[in-house]
Amino acid sequence: MSTRSATDIDPKHSVSVGLIAGISIIFMGLVGLAVGLNERILIDPILSLGYLFLLAVPLGAGYIAANETVLEGMQAPEKGTRDIVAGALAGLAGGAMVGLFLILLDTVDLSEKMPAWGDRLLDMLSFNQGVGGGVVVAALVGTVLGALGGAIHVLKDEPRRVIKIVIISVLSFAILEAIVDDVLGEIGLKPVAKFLYSKSGGLSVLPAILVGIVALGFAIGFKGKGDELKTRYDTMEEAERKQVNKYALIAVVVAAVVLPMLLGKIVNELLANVGLFVLLALGLNIVVGRAGILDIGYVAFFAVGAYGMAVLTTPEAPWRINDTLVHDIFGWLPVLPWLVALPIVVVMTGFVGLLIGTPVIRMRGDYLAIVTLGFGEIIRLLFLSDWLSPTLGGSQGIRNIPGVNVGVTEINGTKPQYVFYLVAVFVAIAIYISHQMETSRIGRAWMAIREDEPVAEAMGINTVTTKLIAFVTGAVLASFSGAIFAAKVGSTFPNSFLLLVSIIILVVVIVGGMGNIPGVILGAVVLIGILGGPKQPGLLAEFSQFKLLIYGALLVFMMLKKPEGLLPNAARTRELHIDEALQDAWLKGDKPSSEDEVATA
C-alpha cells in the first residue's frame, strides 16, 4: 500500500466543519458566554474558562474534520499528515470566519440589540491585538488548533490516554480550586495552596506544569493497573470480595465524615446541595431508570416533602396563624420536631404519589410524560394559589422553618457541614433502599416491564401495582430531599419547585447513567457540583446564566454520543448497543457450545 498524500482530503467537508466551528464561536460570543466565563481564571494568566470554551471549538473541529468513518470490512485508513492538513484546513476556515466577524464587530455597532456586542468581545476574540492583528491571530490560532485536533488521530492509543489524563488532571485541579484550597488550609498547608493558586484565582503556571508532570508520571507508572485491580476483584472469592467491599465502605464513610471538617462553609454548602440532588436523582432513577416510567413532574414530590415539613414544624406557619378551615380542624396539633414530622411527611408524600400515580400509571410513553408534567405544575400552582394562601402562604411561602434538632445541636442552613452529614445519612439510606429493591422480586418485575410490558403481564406480573410501587418509592426518596431542603433553607416558596428542577434531575439521571446507582450519583456530583443546580451555584459559579444552555448542549451530546450515560448500567448498555454486544459476545468465543446450536445459530 502506498503512503497517502497529505492532500488526500475532502476540502469541502473540512471547510464546512470549520465554518460550523466559526459559527459556534460567534454564537458563544454573542450570547455573552465567552466574555462571561472569561472572569474565571483556570490557569493564571494563560487560560480562562471562557477561552477554554472558545479554544476547544477549533480543536474539536479539527478532530471531526480529520475523522473518517471506517465501515465494516473496510481497512482502517492510514493516519498521517493528511489528518493534520484536514484539521488545519477546518481550523483555518473557522478562524477566517471569526476574523470576518471581528471586522464586522469593529465597523458596525449592534450593542443596542446585543448586549455582548462590543470591545470586550473584540478584545477577547482578537487576543487583544485589535482588528488587524486579530484577524491574523484568529486565523493562525484556528489553524494551529485545528491541526492539533487532526493530529489526535495520528497519536497511538497509549500517548492519547496519557495526554488525556494529564489534561483532565490539570483542569480538575483548576476547577476544584475551592476544595483543594480549603483542605490544604485546614491541614496546615496554606503555603502549598498559596503556591498552587494565584491571587486572582486559578492555578499558576509553574504548579500547573508540575501537576501535569505528576499526572504524567502516574499515567505511565500505573498503566494498566486499574484493569488489573478490576480483574483481581472480579476473580476474587465471595468471602474475600465481601471483605474488600467492607473496607471500601469504611473508607467512604470516613471520607464523608472527615472531608467536610476540612472544608469551608461555601464548599460544604455546595456538597449539601449536591447531596440533595443525589437523593432526588436516586429516586427518579427508580422511576425512570428501573421501571421505565418517564416522570417529568418529579419535582412535585420534592415540593410536597418540603411543604409537608414546613407545615408541621413551623410555629408561625400561615395555617396556624390565619383563621382557616385547616386551622379549625388541626389547630390542636402541636408543633412537631423534624425527626417526629419526618415519618408523617414520608407517608404524606407517598400518599400523594399514589394519588397522582394511580390515574397516570396506565398510560404509556409520551402521554404519561405529559400528564406527569401537568401534575407537577398543578402541585406548584396549588401552593401558589390564592385559595390556599391562608394555609400555605401563597407566593410568600412558609418562612422561619426551624432546623433539625438532633439533641447536641440544631442543624440548619447556617451549618452547612451538619446539613451535609444529615444529607449523607439519607443518601446512604436511599442507596440501600434502591439497591435492595432493584435486586428483589419487585426489582426484577420492573426490569421485565421495561423490556416488554405485555409479555411481563402475560407472565403474571401485575404491571399496575408494580409500577405504582416504583412511583411511590421514588416519591418517598424525593420527600427525604424535600424535608431536608425545608430545614436547610428555612423557607419554602412555590418558585423553588419549577418544572426546571424536574428537568435538571432527569438530565442528571440520563447523563450519569440511567438505572445504575453509582452512575446516577456521579451524574449529580459532576453536574450539580460543577455546573450547579437550578438555583444553586456549582464550583464554576460563573456558569450561572449559561447553565441551562450547557445542560441542554450536554444532554444533546450525550444522547448522540453516549446515550447510556457516564457510568452505564450493564443491561442498559446492551439495550442501546445491542449489535455491538452481540458481536462482542461472538468474538469472545461465547459461541454455542453444543453441536445442535451450531446448526440453528
Binding site: 422480586r441 426484577r444 402475560a458 443491561a571 440453528t600
Partner: protein, 260 residues
C-alpha cells in the same frame, strides 16, 4: 368437567372473523394439539385464553370459572402459562432472572421485606431461586451453569425456545400452552423436545395445548388433535383420524375452485 371449556367464542378484527363460534375443551391431564394452515386463528385462540384479546361473544371457563375480563396476569395466576410463537423473552435479563421473574404471581414479597431483609423475604428469594434452577434443569445443562447469568439474547435460537418453555413452567401453571415450540429447530432438537413434552405431563403434571406445524411431533405427543381453519374447527379426534380427514387435506392443500 373439563379443565378448559370454550363455548361459542367469536372474535373479529375489523371485517375479519379470526375465531368463529368456536367450541373447545381440554380435560385435565390431556395433551391436545391445535393445527391448521397459516392464518387459521391458532395464535388468536391462545391470545383469547390468556387475556391478550377479549372475545366479542362466548365464554371461556377454566375449571368452571370465566376468564373473560380478567387481566392477563390474573389469568396466569389462575394457572395458565404460555409461550409465544415469535419468542418474546426479556432479552436483557439473565436466563436466571427470566425464570425468576415469572414466579411473580406465586410470590408476594413487596417493599418492606427486601428493605428490612426479613426472614420471610430471604426464604422466598431462596425458594424462587431453587424453583428457577429446577425448571432450567429440566433442559439438562443447556440453560444452567455459566449460562445462568448470561443475558437471554446471547442464547441460540433453540435455547431461546427452551427458555420460553422454562419461563412458562416457572409460572406454575395447570394448563401449559405452547405456540409452535419446535419452529426453527432441527430434527434432532425436535425429537428431544418431543420427549420432553411427554415429561411435562408425566413428571410435572401439566395439561398441555400445543400449536404446531410439525406433524411428527403432533403425532407423537397428542391425545387429541383439533384442526382449525378460518377460525372454525373443521375436524378433531385422534391423529390418524384427523390426518386422513378430507376437509383437513383440503384445508392444507387448498380447495378446488369449483367448491367455492
Amino acid at each position: 368437567m373439563s379443565l378448559l371449556d370454550i363455548n361459542n367464542v367469536t372474535i373479529t378484527f375489523g371485517g375479519l372473523t379470526a375465531i368463529d363460534d368456536l367450541n373447545f375443551h381440554v380435560d385435565e391431564g390431556e395433551i391436545v394439539s391445535v393445527i391448521g394452515p397459516n392464518g387459521a386463528g391458532k395464535t388468536t385462540f391462545f391470545n383469547l385464553i390468556t387475556g391478550l384479546s377479549t372475545p366479542d361473544s362466548g365464554e371461556i371457563l377454566l375449571d368452571g370459572e370465566s376468564l373473560i375480563g380478567l387481566d392477563p396476569n390474573e389469568i396466569t395466576a389462575r394457572g395458565v402459562g404460555r409461550t409465544f410463537q415469535n419468542v418474546r423473552l426479556f432479552p436483557q435479563m439473565t436466563i436466571l432472572e427470566n425464570v425468576m421473574v415469572a414466579q411473580h404471581c406465586r410470590t408476594n414479597q413487596k417493599v418492606l421485606g427486601p428493605i428490612f431483609r426479613t426472614k420471610a423475604y430471604k426464604e422466598e428469594e431462596a425458594l424462587i431461586r431453587k424453583n428457577a434452577e429446577e425448571v432450567l434443569g429440566f433442559f439438562g445443562t443447556r440453560l444452567t451453569g455459566y449460562r445462568l447469568n448470561q443475558p437471554a439474547f446471547v442464547l441460540s435460537y433453540a435455547n431461546r425456545r427452551r427458555l420460553e418453555i422454562a419461563r412458562a413452567m416457572a409460572t406454575q401453571p395447570r394448563l401449559l400452552m405452547l405456540d409452535e415450540p419446535v419452529a426453527g429447530m432441527n430434527p434432532m432438537e425436535t425429537a428431544e423436545l418431543t420427549e420432553l413434552i411427554g415429561k411435562l405431563r408425566s413428571e410435572w403434571g401439566f395439561t398441555i395445548v400445543i400449536i404446531e406445524h410439525d406433524m411428527r411431533l403432533v403425532r407423537d405427543v397428542s391425545d387429541r388433535v383439533v384442526v382449525l381453519d378460518h377460525g372454525e374447527t373443521i375436524a378433531q379426534g385422534s391423529y390418524e383420524h384427523v390426518s386422513t380427514h378430507p376437509d383437513v387435506i383440503e384445508a392444507y392443500l387448498g380447495r378446488s375452485a369449483g367448491d367455492k
